[in-house]
Symmetry: C2
């Protein structure tokens, strides 16, 4: 296939998965007709029609490598996206980043109110664990999925990364300290997406864990570069926030050029981790490229 045909094929695959995950999220989120209606409306506002769905794409791509059923992957993908959506709602609140724009729309606390944003985040997190617990099939594996998601989201994972981020504002961090923070703040949930996809079929192979770790870190490095270089319109969220808030980033630590180089290095080592899987890993490889080479 020519480059453009490969690109078109990848874009079609992405579009199909994104549509599938959107439907799964619509099904698992309570109807806005159901009491408490305003809370449910806000939960749907925060989650639906938004974002690139990178984590669900990773769930499906890893599931393809592992040979998992699509129905199970839908649940895992929706769960990890619910955790991601909850974290965005809470991060945007006035007591955190105090941001007004997300995915091109007013943030939840702006569109609704602060108390509703708090409850939306809380209830989205709960729903993630609920839907995993309600799937049929192997309970041992489902319980391992609960554990994987909880470890990635909790105080040793995403929430912990956020806390380190808060403590670090105005400070200069070494590359090792930055990595410690980012492996938790963003990397943990990205990694969890890959592991959850694999867990839908069986134990997660070590090579996939390596891939997950590298791609998770690359995602954050690229996020830092984009925050420094892209526009608010392109990102659909406020650009230039990190330097304005005095947050240490890969760009502030090593400059944009070296940060881009580091992301490229991580992309190559992510590819290398997949070598043993052959053609089954094509989507994971393409996603590593997509994550590192994206412009938004």
């Amino acid at each position: 296939m020519a480059t453009t045909a490969i690109e078109a094929d990848f874009a079609a695959w992405m579009g199909a998965i994104q549509a599938r995950v959107e439907e799964a999220l619509k099904r698992c989120l309570p109807s806005a007709q159901l009491a408490p209606a305003r809370l449910h409306e806000a939960m749907r506002y925060a989650t639906l029609e938004g974002g690139k769905r990178v984590r669900p794409l990773l769930v499906f791509a890893a599931g393809e490598v592992a040979g998992a059923e699509a129905g199970r992957l839908e649940v895992a993908a929706a769960a990890v996206e619910l955790i991601h959506a909850y974290s965005l709602v809470h991060d945007d609140m006035p007591c955190m980043d105090d941001d007004v724009l997300r995915r091109g729309k007013p943030t939840v606390h702006v569109e609704f109110d602060g108390a509703t944003a708090l409850l939306v985040g809380d209830a989205l997190q709960t729903l993630a664990f609920q839907i995993i617990s309600e799937q049929s099939g192997d309970a041992t594996r489902a319980l391992e999925m609960v554990r994987t998601l909880a470890l990635a989201a909790g105080s040793r994972g995403m929430a912990g990364g956020q806390a380190i981020d808060l403590e670090s504002t105005g400070k200069t961090l070494s590359q090792a300290e930055l990595e410690f923070m980012h492996v938790r703040k963003t990397g943990a949930l990205i990694s969890a997406a890959v592991k959850l996809g694999a867990l839908c079929a069986g134990p997660c192979p070590a090579a996939l864990e390596q891939y997950a770790h590298r791609v998770g870190l690359a995602f954050q490095v690229v996020d830092d570069v984009l925050d420094a270089e892209a526009s608010t319109a392109t990102l659909g969220k406020t650009a230039g926030k990190d330097s304005k808030q005095g947050k240490p980033t890969y760009v502030s630590a090593m400059g944009a050029a070296r940060a881009r180089g580091f992301a490229e290095e991580l992309r190559r080592s992510a590819h290398a981790a997949l070598e043993g899987f052959g053609d089954r890993a094509v989507r994971l490889k393409q996603l590593a490229d997509f994550i590192v080479l994206r412009k938004f």
Copy 2:
């Protein structure tokens, strides 16, 4: 036994369970020496040395009826208390009740800050699901525990009850509407505690579910009466908040005397639900009495 001997025996049982749960919570909460240290310190501050531990007591009392192992009950009790602790931290935040005092101490956002309070609540919720997923033994039952806790905590349970509470401020609710709210806001987690205790041994008997529903509702009715009648010093949290905030309560809906009568009625019907269990249900009966007759 004379009344005082029975009381002393119940007090000793409560003290023993409370101490046991405190140790279980200390073990499952990350050490304050571990990074991010401030977050972990705040999680411990929010959870340890606080409260009557009503939900853990219900877990153990229901476990006694069902014949569950103490080790499993510890995990269930700690999990439900972590959910309760998270909800208190978030409820006290400025965008919700904006309260400064909880369990006789400054609230988390006062002692630490708003962003930390947000993350503490988030991470405590996650930890509840994590510890259930990490217990050994029957995975099907553990997964059912995840589901029970998630249904009780989410938008159709506790978080939903909070949202209805917010929407109701300044309104007059009928008794049916009040019950709809309170069954979710407080009742759901109280009920879940009973079910989790039973689930540690096997499926939850219907009679225990009935008991749980009645005691859960009674708990909130008494809470309303105490908020109206007790002092801040006795409660360890700000008294008189409901009427000041214009919140509909059982006291505003039916007056304090009828609310007390309703709680008494619920206490009796909770006892009635336990009849088939004989002596095994003595702690559950005593807890129903404790919940309705408490002064704080």
